[in-house]
Amino acid sequence: MYRYDQYDQAMVDARVAEFRDQVERRLSGAMTEDQFKPLRLMNGLYLQLHAYMLRVAIPYGTLSSTQMRALADIARKYDKGYAHFTTRQNVQYNWIQLKETPDLLADLARVEMHAIQTSGNCIRNISSDQFAGVAGDEVIDPRPHAELLRQWSSFHPEFSFLPRKFKIAVIASDADRAAMRLHDIGIRIVRRDGVLGAQVFAGGGMGRTPMIAPEIRDFVPEDQMVSYCEAILRVYNRHGRRDNKYKARIKILVHETGADKFREEVEAEFAHMQPLDLDPPRAELARIKAFFAPPEYAAIEDGYDTSDPDFRIWAETNLFPHKQPGYAAATISLKPVGGIPGDASAEQMDIVADLAARYSMDEVRVTHAQNLVLPNVRQDRLYALWQELDAAGLAPANLDRASDIIACPGLDYCSLANARSIPIAQEVAKRLAPIEREVGALQIKMSGCINACGHHHAGHIGVLGVDKKGVESYQLLLGGSAAEDVSLAKITGPGFDERGIVDAIETVTSVYRDAREGDERFLDTYRRLGMAPFKEALYDKA
């Protein structure tokens, strides 16, 4: 894992001291809310429906045991004993007090974490594949490149006031486990003729106008990746709309300009920048890569005992093949049936930290699907791990199944939301859990408003909560995917009320079960048949 150097630590410590002073001035009345609001947002402190909310960055979703333990301590000390893991691999606390925030940030800084750039029109936390470094299908661990981009984008003076927020994802495999093409910039690390570099996509995103990012560059050498991103940001910063918040994301610019013309502009900027020698020296990437060197794995063979049927079900569902023989990556589902997707109690976080230390070489990952991963588990210790997870309520065997639902906080917590998403997710999970093993891979994603934090556009089944004259209403979408077969879901038709949407999801699942051929997933059946049979079942019941 990357460790802060003196510059990283000094920057974060200085920001904590600066914010402490700003909070003191706000509390003394020396600063108005209008003056203070942009400052608190730059430090990840929002006002939500019930209280202040703090969003903490988890770079590329990687945590040490020490960091996870610190997050648990913060949940206990400053919040109400729990935290919420988000679809951008971050963590949020929902009940923070302003007067305590500086101390909280100081506690975070002690474990090399912060909340900087988790809000505002700047480059946000860099996200990545939760299996980075352990996946057998990756070209290379993409996290050093993500870390390089983190360092480049942190406090970047030119990109601190962009037209709108900006999100970057980095992966290194054909399989996309990070919704890469639904980001403002998506990077796939590739090897061409023996040379490492980046395939670059730009202009993707969800929100009110979902777009799949087109490819902007097939290959840029890894030592020019930063300046190529800089060229994209410069073009966006120059031409991105600032007159209309809803048209300010880069996806609108790329769409309205056209990918070819946008590419021309980026290439011209890139060419202009090359003589300026703005890329970090190769030695810096080499220094960062050294932090991500593979740990010392034992020389063991694949295989483990699956005689316990409950363990076997979990192993079949929640394990991911590891590139190292004898090891596995285990997903800890934060989706107990009837629970709140992505929430973990401080006690559970402590347990995960402890398990990571004892079973996973001290590492935890956060997934964009709001689960956790222990990436380095010996297969001969999986059963012991599962027993401990099960005892802590952390062993739902439902990864990518119907009850593994992505859901934003919705109207239960979020001031932007129009409808609740968590209760819908809970009811759908209860309804479909009994049949989810038979149904197979099914990704259900729910958002409580058009901003799409719950990725509804990318769900095999998506749900969007809307406000219909003061009453919660829900639109149903089908056919989305955030993976390498990326697609945007389409709305089925008129919306449903709170009970109707649960019935509707059960109905489309039944259509799939009746119509599927062979091993087809829900998404495959939908793509083969189209919307018609689903729509008919939903709306032509009479």
């Binding site: 706000r26 509390l27 009345g29 108005t32 809310e33 006002l47 429906l49 019930h50 209280a51 202040y52 109400k80 009940w95 923070i96 007090q97 302003l98 007067k99 709140i340 109207l411 239960d412 917590y413 001031s415 939301a417 609740r420 968590i422 209760p423 809970q426 003061g470 009453v471 919660e472």
Partner: protein, 96 residues
């Protein structure tokens, strides 16, 4: 009726204007008539409350009821965590 709400600066707690001060309980909220914006301006300047706004509602036998579900949610706490928010401290006179 018109109700004024906002958030407590130090804690972020949801608060309601009672006619003479602020309360964490919706049942204490006063009908401010046309004075809402003036109250918000005055109280914001005093630096104890922020993000104030005026809410439409009706007075019921049990007490004030905001028209929009978002404000009723603010008065209660999360519907999925009844152990949190004002609702955790005792019965609240409104439901979602």
């Amino acid at each position: 009726m018109k109700i004024v709400t906002g958030n407590d600066l130090k804690t972020g707690d949801v608060i309601w204007w009672t006619g003479s001060g602020w309360s964490r309980h919706l049942v204490d909220a006063a009908d401010v008539g046309e004075d809402g914006e003036a109250i918000i301006a005055r109280e914001s300047a005093a630096q104890k409350v922020f993000d104030g706004y005026v809410v439409d509602g009706e007075m019921t036998d049990a007490g004030p009821r905001p028209a929009h579900i978002k404000d009723r949610m603010r008065a209660l706490g999360p519907s999925v965590r009844l152990d949190l928010g004002v609702q955790a401290k005792g019965p609240v006179h409104v439901s979602l």
